[in-house]
Symmetry: D3
Subunit: 293 residues, 6 copies
Amino acid sequence: MYFHRQELQHTATPEKPDAVYARKLQEVLGGQYGEITVALQYQFQAWNMHIPGKYRDLVFGIGAEEMGHVEMLAVMIAQLLEKAPLGITEEAVQNDPTVAAVIGGTDIQHGIVAGAGARPVDSMGNPWSGSYITASGNLLADFTANANAEMQGRVQVARLYHQTDDHGVKDLLAFLLARDTMHQNQWAAAAAELQAEGLEKMPVPSNFPLDKEERDVAYQYINFSNGTKAGDGTWASGPTPDGKGEFTYLPEPPAGVPMPPPTHPDARFYGTTELPNTVEKLAGRAQDALHKE
Amino acid sequence: MYFHRQELQHTATPEKPDAVYARKLQEVLGGQYGEITVALQYQFQAWNMHIPGKYRDLVFGIGAEEMGHVEMLAVMIAQLLEKAPLGITEEAVQNDPTVAAVIGGTDIQHGIVAGAGARPVDSMGNPWSGSYITASGNLLADFTANANAEMQGRVQVARLYHQTDDHGVKDLLAFLLARDTMHQNQWAAAAAELQAEGLEKMPVPSNFPLDKEERDVAYQYINFSNGTKAGDGTWASGPTPDGKGEFTYLPEPPAGVPMPPPTHPDARFYGTTELPNTVEKLAGRAQDALHKE
Amino acid sequence: MYFHRQELQHTATPEKPDAVYARKLQEVLGGQYGEITVALQYQFQAWNMHIPGKYRDLVFGIGAEEMGHVEMLAVMIAQLLEKAPLGITEEAVQNDPTVAAVIGGTDIQHGIVAGAGARPVDSMGNPWSGSYITASGNLLADFTANANAEMQGRVQVARLYHQTDDHGVKDLLAFLLARDTMHQNQWAAAAAELQAEGLEKMPVPSNFPLDKEERDVAYQYINFSNGTKAGDGTWASGPTPDGKGEFTYLPEPPAGVPMPPPTHPDARFYGTTELPNTVEKLAGRAQDALHKE
Amino acid sequence: MYFHRQELQHTATPEKPDAVYARKLQEVLGGQYGEITVALQYQFQAWNMHIPGKYRDLVFGIGAEEMGHVEMLAVMIAQLLEKAPLGITEEAVQNDPTVAAVIGGTDIQHGIVAGAGARPVDSMGNPWSGSYITASGNLLADFTANANAEMQGRVQVARLYHQTDDHGVKDLLAFLLARDTMHQNQWAAAAAELQAEGLEKMPVPSNFPLDKEERDVAYQYINFSNGTKAGDGTWASGPTPDGKGEFTYLPEPPAGVPMPPPTHPDARFYGTTELPNTVEKLAGRAQDALHKE
Amino acid sequence: MYFHRQELQHTATPEKPDAVYARKLQEVLGGQYGEITVALQYQFQAWNMHIPGKYRDLVFGIGAEEMGHVEMLAVMIAQLLEKAPLGITEEAVQNDPTVAAVIGGTDIQHGIVAGAGARPVDSMGNPWSGSYITASGNLLADFTANANAEMQGRVQVARLYHQTDDHGVKDLLAFLLARDTMHQNQWAAAAAELQAEGLEKMPVPSNFPLDKEERDVAYQYINFSNGTKAGDGTWASGPTPDGKGEFTYLPEPPAGVPMPPPTHPDARFYGTTELPNTVEKLAGRAQDALHKE
Amino acid sequence: MYFHRQELQHTATPEKPDAVYARKLQEVLGGQYGEITVALQYQFQAWNMHIPGKYRDLVFGIGAEEMGHVEMLAVMIAQLLEKAPLGITEEAVQNDPTVAAVIGGTDIQHGIVAGAGARPVDSMGNPWSGSYITASGNLLADFTANANAEMQGRVQVARLYHQTDDHGVKDLLAFLLARDTMHQNQWAAAAAELQAEGLEKMPVPSNFPLDKEERDVAYQYINFSNGTKAGDGTWASGPTPDGKGEFTYLPEPPAGVPMPPPTHPDARFYGTTELPNTVEKLAGRAQDALHKE
């Protein structure tokens, strides 16, 4: 169950309106790595989890916090839009270049659709999509997804930090940056703990029997490009991070196997086949089949 | 530049047709974590990369290999569909329950749209989307995204491995599992190397000035759920993985700040406002504005 | 701020697994009118609202409850999937027609992607989309949207009620049906109250100056089809619900106005234009322009 | 059957070109609540309807009119784009701020993709989607959806009215506003008539047996937020709009029920489970299963 | 303007219900090449066209016919769904394998969302998308798109023809096949007429000055794969269809040019750059920049 | 198998940065008819093809070239973005109108998401979609789709050519225009060759038995609009392009057939039906059914 309190975790009030910046903030509200994504990702992971106790408690606890981040950003965006210009005339544009920038740089639906309100979309207006979420049930994979989400999110907030002079906005971003720092660290710690406790290891999923995979290519770096330094990294020689092998390096791929012959589906799919006489035969068969229909 | 050779990296021929399984394989061809995703993700990372040399060589080299994985899966799917049933009658269903399963379990567009061919979609028929890709230019974030993609991908292939008896299919999956093992290890190694070389560290992005974020909440685990074991993990006490702090634990959130007052955008957005007399005033203003228009 | 408690508002435990039904339930979790939609719709309305007090309190209060409904459905789906079949062989299908039904009727990604967990998608596998939400800032419009959402939702739950024999599932649906009954009634009451208090009236938006619209067609029913009974309803004669006019009925449309002539954009858009000599002239102009480039 | 006449229902010619406004108009052509939505929504409702006669005649008649509204907007947009600037140089921008506004504010695909023509997209470039449509077969629900669509649409047109000085555009919008007034009124009248005739009532769907829903929570307002005025509305006490109950108010939720224990799906889904020894057992089982494969 | 008549162009009544086939028919109603696509594609081409007269008359005339095809398919689908099974129990499945097929093979939203009605989606449940449409303003390109759409459409209907025994359905498909034959022929004739009249030629767009393109590679077939027969077609030698060149054949690509060096965007984008000392310098610059902020 | 070489087919370096143009170029990289589309379309056609030899060699050879075009555009976009402005202040806008244009005209995600890198999206930010691809297995249909794709693509590049003064960009576009000229010609030649060899003819699919379609309407142009010149083209009289008929022209549609009566699905779908007493009966039946449940 979820409970709401009409408070914010942190102040979220801009110094002045800025409709262009409101659009930019949509990225971290409703984008691929925005707060809606992490909020729902963590909650789905919790609902699907097979372990009671500390891991699930962790995921539930952060998931609910992220809902509050969605809220702070939405409230901030609404305020940035509060004085969004509406009835812009050509004359106004002539007199003030800022107006021109605002015309071009705003999310048009902020005004026309939401009446100067926040929307569940990214900075280019794409609606948030359920396909942004990852919740596989395998926790080492999922915590790695979470670490990535928090890293991408913090990179985006850092970029946004430099695109405004508004101290109110910067103050909220400074808070979000810190929480992203925290959550990056937490997912890294949780991934390490999973492995320390033996619940999951690399390669993920670790309890798939290794003898069922083709082990002779499991640690072989085959370079399909012609970069000459590809073999210089620790990914090309030495022990592998999963502790189960040694990297080897092939500067170019070995010969492949022949492609299987083309398929010949039922003639009634009307794909084009190779030889006129075959076509006739197939067409004959199709017509035979049709006769029976 | 890309060059194609009419060979496959590994044999990709099933023992017998299986239209239901062809649909399932679409997940790892055209799904969120399918081969199209990793192929394009790595290539976009390479095109956008700011570093020449070993890291870019690595990403280019794996990216091109993944294109060949897309191909092997597409060719496999076409063969699994080669004898896909077409003109199923009720009588056939009555006589053979397998037919019923096939009717329900196939991707209908495999037949009607592609004429028994592979498609750029996932196992539920959603078209592949550019939004599946991550390429931020920050390599520690992106290599973490890559590690996650290879983990999720290997989990999916492992699940698929158990859903067929076909030795030809299993043989291809055993190869893909091994390559996923390799690539998981490579991205882990590359992420470690980035940090060892000091190119990037946690928290990502590491050269954002830490004093600009709100440091007092940067290592504080605030539990927004009521799980009693949330504080038992290494994510709640002790040193943080980024080596820059100590985790602390708050079993419940401190009081928040008051929500800012509701916004009052231009009356010509026709949002509902609180007091009739205010409405009238606003409407008056709108009508004044209209007069001038 | 949002807080989570590891409890459910109502019991959500099925009597037995049913992977086919788990897929059907996805509709009311992640579909156009599923619980994610109403949860986020109400919250966005609250964040964007221009009125403090009872209306915003109402919307916040129901919005947070709906988050808990998402949770109950997700937890229910995970349990329905708990024994989802995995490694189905042809033999199994031959022996038990139920198995055939299950193969065809399940959400394939429930298994391959989520490892027998719930997903943010509808019953056909389409990911939930931010475009499902309505939050315009005009409360009479939005409360009508909410009433519709609760009606569509209750219709869907009622349909689902008849598609299972499981008493655990039916018990949860009986609860959801009742809450939908409640919320339908609440949005109807709130819409009435808005009008009673004069905050908003029909036609929405009510403070747009009526003399700016083309009043002579504002109450005229023009029938563009040839149904002979179209004029028999209260929508074709008598007073209009907004209390500002009388319906009139035209059994067929009056003559229209001529279409404006086709456009002739810049020749460098390379659209096809009508006359060869014009084309030459335009091409000439384009080449002149090119010369200058 | 549909017939087209090369006339428009109303004049649709702008005074002068305005590529930025052309983009804004796309919202009411191809957006969530644009004319394509209502045109197809009403037609699908008609095709799926279970009642011959006046209700179906009504829906068919308005549906076909809306097709003509799509056309008027498309023709208007093409004319607004007729002189869309194309080959903008930096010099031009320096000399005229209006040019800067135009660069930023246009729909880029209007030029590059459509050659200065209208497109089936909204104002942010999202393609129109079939998921915008509602046609459930339950007419009280659907007419409420229609009323909402006409309200949202009229709000958007009203907002657009203030964003142009062009008398030609304003003239068309004044016509569309009036038709939206009409259609709002018609759906309200039709919804009332359905109830007056007893075809459908609240709660929708009205012939689902009420004793099957959990009646004790069917009229109980449970506040999941902490707004103190939530109980002040007619939605919290007094008779309910469906005439079947009395609202009651709970300022905070009663205790919930315990969450069901986590699920334990087949080990071959490779979800992470709680205890190492359990993992081993499950892995053992998975390996046993694999042996048999 | 569009007018509707409550008649169908052709009989559209099945002999008996078939919910599985209803789903398949959705492909040609709401799929990429379904009737909604051609209806809207032709109408948008007409609205955007720069030529009055016969070409526009042609496009309008077919466009309106296709709206009636959408209608016939929707009505057919509703009838095929009329007896769609609803409350299927496990017992029913055990007794009749057909029931199992039906469970798996139906569009679940046909029942739960549309109450046994047609929907604006394809056979896999993807909503129809505005991105399916092509209307560039260049008529030779667009008529080629139209020819393709009618070909793909007829291929799909032909495939569907073999998947039913129902004479009512087959009768409608026989009609649609004939109309697709007609429209294929019309677009081919119209494309030829455009060229005969000199309005447009190959290469499209024909009035782009050829000397502005890099003519020395304009007729050179460069083979980027290793197929040995690639040079055997009329596409590799002899005169080119545009009448302006001779095909030549290169069995493999000539050497390329070096890739440009990696980019170095502003350090405040926090992309990873190559050398620690550079990083420090950049970070320094970022901090300088921050100081000034 | 695919191999990558760190070279480009043609120089791709701009003279100077231009973030606005970088966004425009996204259209031909990741749009409906961008290079990702043709690259994947041709490769899927090759993988699904039923004919070995020259046709498949052709499709593979061009498909791999197009991957290199994706690369050139991505690299060009990254360079155009290299100096993308980041921290724009209001003051800067006041001083330089170009800055205003840049603010409005850029792809916001280029900076915030990709750190000044290319993305798999179109010029309006819509992610590339698998639904852009056509690969039916019928080669005459598919080669027509390919000809269309190359025509649309060349039209778009020609339009883009006029929107920049940068010689580096123009040089790359001149190359792409020439390759589009080539590929247009190749698909036209291949389509002709298919027909010359008798592998496929019009109407596509040509081996569907013509006597199964309703031949009496197969060459009849029925005008559903009132354009008086619709009959003036070669599409209305004379021999048909498929060589199998004569066009005839009907200036308006003949009478249709009556619409079938409305459907009456199971009452438990809760659709609204016509007569109260019927409703009661149906409700009774539903309640009977419920009793048994």
